[in-house]
Symmetry: C2
Subunit: 214 residues, 2 copies
DNA sequence: AAAAAAAATGGGAGTTACTCCCATGTAAAA
DNA sequence: TTTTACATGGGAGTAACTCCCATTTTTTTT
């Protein structure tokens, strides 16, 4: 019987150490390694491929999303469990599409952590309330009038707005008329259900299009 | 030699458990109790007054700020250490003024945690980089031309803007003319160095006047 | 291949959201 | 007591929008 090799990446020492201590109490968990960010974790994986990785989303250097993408591209056999703080719906949907194997809230009980680890190792996917909630809201999105899936152009414009560019600056940079800019902006506002730039920036933050550190 | 009684409040199980595990390795730390939010912690304190408490800022029910206020009012002899995620300058300055005894980042090393606990127990205050940084930014605020210390009215208006209220709605609610609203808004923009609502919302997020979950 | 839907573009006309500069009373510092 | 910050407001002009409409291209569905 070979035990599971698990790597964890989280920049917060307490979370990391707490998780390691917990993992060591589980029967089927063997070697545990730790990393403070995505790059460190990828370096560990490069040396020896683990059975599972546990990833925080917000990390310096390389965040959980980019790390997941890299792992799925290069090491598809590794099970990925995402550690979340809040339930960032849209981000979670993106991660599910990307192919991660499960989600755990940082306030999860030890039993759930164990269940999640074994589910990913044995069945390839751990479905819990976080996933259900995200999927439910995803259904809502695609049936309701105000769908939140932005087109590439809209995303581009959203990001430029978030950089504090004026309408004139954006339209000049993109070589389109201000009219077109405003049309795009209105469409974005409609899709995300906001009234103006305030709601737009909040959407960007909540969907991790913008980071707190930037 | 009586050991230190420490209570910890944090809604994230991993952080809490990790901290408890760490505290148990320290020589001078005796009994450790835990709570998932401020109210639970206050209930514990009511029963037996501890030497130190370690508080997370973001918690359900009662957050770290309100909990600190309550403890300082009712149990001034208790040492308060705040556990922070990012370095929320404005919030930290408020907490220092309130009278908390120290700050620890969640990614702090075990050695620093031990140092901080003993410093608060022995000298009543633990001064580290987090505090220095907050104080420095506070000095900058009061000497530089573009001061970022908002007046109460300005803060009120900033928050209403962040709730996606229109200028008309804000001025109606506050019973002031739209002119006055715009004057306040301009002053805010000047102080925080922003061009419009985009920068304003970003400022609110970065200074934790707004939370990602909201 | 044909039809439909979504994406990207732009205009006319009107309203709202601002900016810049100025001014006043009041309260708190120096 | 003279500053300095705070909260309030006006006049006049500009930039930032909204609403409704229309065209072309690309992508998806049938």
């Amino acid at each position: 019987m070979n035990k599971l090799k698990v790597y964890i990446a989280d920049d917060h020492t307490f979370v990391r150490k707490g998780m390691i201590r917990l993992l060591n109490t589980f029967d089927r968990i063997g070697e545990v390694k730790e990393a403070a960010n995505g790059n460190e974790l990828i370096a560990l994986v490069k040396k020896t491929i683990p059975d599972l990785v546990v990833l925080d989303l917000e990390m310096p250097e390389k965040n959980g999303f980019d790390t997941s993408k890299h792992l799925i591209d290069h090491y598809p056999e590794v099970g990925i469990l995402i550690l979340t703080m809040h339930t960032e719906e849209v981000f979670i949907l993106n991660l599910i599409e990307l192919g991660v194997h499960g989600f755990l809230n940082k306030s999860a009980e030890p039993e759930e952590v164990e269940r999640a680890l074994y589910a990913v190792a044995d069945n390839d996917f751990y479905r819990n309330e976080i996933v259900n909630h995200a999927l439910r809201s995803g259904v809502r999105r695609s049936t309701e009038a105000s769908s939140a899936k932005l087109s590439p152009r809209e995303l581009e414009i959203l990001l430029l707005i978030c950089k504090e560019l004026t309408p004139h600056e954006v339209s000049t940079r993109l070589q389109i008329s201000e009219k077109t800019f405003f049309n795009h902006r209105s469409n974005i506002l409609g899709k995300i259900g906001a009234r103006g730039n305030v709601g737009l920036v909040k959407y960007a933050y909540q969907n991790h299009l913008l980071e707190l550190s930037a």
